[in-house]
Subunit: 221 residues, 2 copies
């Protein structure tokens, strides 16, 4: 595997994340994501196309090739392993790990990362609940689990709600819980199986067992 500059890696990673939403990524989208200017994007797109990491025709948007996706998954693997290390071993809180991992992810020594993976016990998800690609770039497809199964202090997003009655929707609306909303379980009470959860990083609220049983979240998004 060749080496890429920090700048190239940041572009590749951003394209990978944007691709998941639309199929095609546009110049302006990417400029907004990277907080840079459209002209800079065009420059780099030419370079990445020349390196065969990108399919790109002027004015038509772009997406990663198979090679480009492999590179992206390598960067994401490094990022998420470091996030896990920071949270698990150095006791960083979940909201502090991303920024530090943004720097560490660019140290691309395969042996380092594979040994780190082993040392951490081959974790499957990072502290935000996102899946960690393995040494071959294989990434687990997002699994849905009931929020009652979500480990305490893991961030996830609401994937679906099994009951579709107007009664549950009213309640969800009132509690500001929607598909895609970020949730974090803070406490589970054995007495009545109620739980305290945070919605979009707001102060914790309580939900009943009946409600919790109907909420499914991504475990590995």
């Amino acid at each position: 595997m060749l080496n890429y500059t920090t700048s190239e890696e940041n572009y590749i990673k951003a394209i990978y994340h944007l691709q998941k939403v639309d199929g095609m990524v546009t110049t302006n989208e990417l400029a907004a994501e990277l907080q840079s200017k459209p002209a800079s994007i065009t420059d780099m797109m030419k370079k990445l196309k020349a390196k065969k990491l990108l399919n790109y025709q002027p004015y038509q948007g772009f997406r990663l090739t198979a090679d480009g996706t492999k590179v992206a998954l390598g960067i994401i693997r490094r990022h998420r392993l470091w996030e896990f290390f920071l949270a698990e071993k150095l006791k960083f809180t979940w909201d502090e790990v991303h920024e530090v991992a943004e720097d560490l992810e660019h140290v691309s020594n395969k042996k380092l990362i594979d040994k780190l993976d082993e040392y951490l016990g081959f974790p499957r998800v990072d502290p935000h609940g996102d899946p960690i690609p393995d040494a071959n770039g294989k990434i687990e497809i997002s699994k849905k689990i009931c929020i009652t199964e979500l480990p305490v202090n893991t961030i996830s997003t609401v994937a679906s709600v099994s009951d579709h009655s107007s009664e549950i929707l009213e309640l969800l609306e009132h509690k500001k819980i929607a598909i895609g909303t970020k949730v974090e379980v803070k406490k589970k009470f054995e007495f009545d199986n109620s739980m305290e959860i945070k919605i979009n990083r707001q102060p914790a609220i309580t939900i009943s067992e009946q409600l919790a049983k109907n909420i499914f979240v991504n475990y590995g998004s």
Copy 2:
């Protein structure tokens, strides 16, 4: 503390190491150390002088200011803590850690490094026996110990020889042992207190108790 580029950090670090030998560092010395050209050195020296990290008068060589030394010790702290981490936690061998640490040392997040230090139990020397500066940049002065006290598999350098007779000099010359030579103890034999040591990473040789007792090495150089 301000941030410096990877390139600036590599210059600062190299000057710090060269300074220990002479007092003043020259352009050619530094170019050789960094495998670059004298003209590049001059360019960077102007930049580091403007940042007040360096005392530099054209044609007169240079040395770090107090500020520059502080920066250097920060880099060396990061480098050696990562080396310790790689050897201790990820089970890298001593000869593999340097290269990887060369990259990791440039991630300069204070909280990361201080938490890493704590996680590792505040180690005082790296796997080569070099001292690790603390969070305030304080570095232990090199202690001399007899090679008989040096732990097995720790790299050190010869600091002095207590006997100055022509007989011992002949023997040292023959075994290629000199001041500054790198040594590593591989085995100690209780029967006659002889030991097997490696000199400059060459195949192990045997030295007698009488010789060993006269060789002093840096422990934390």
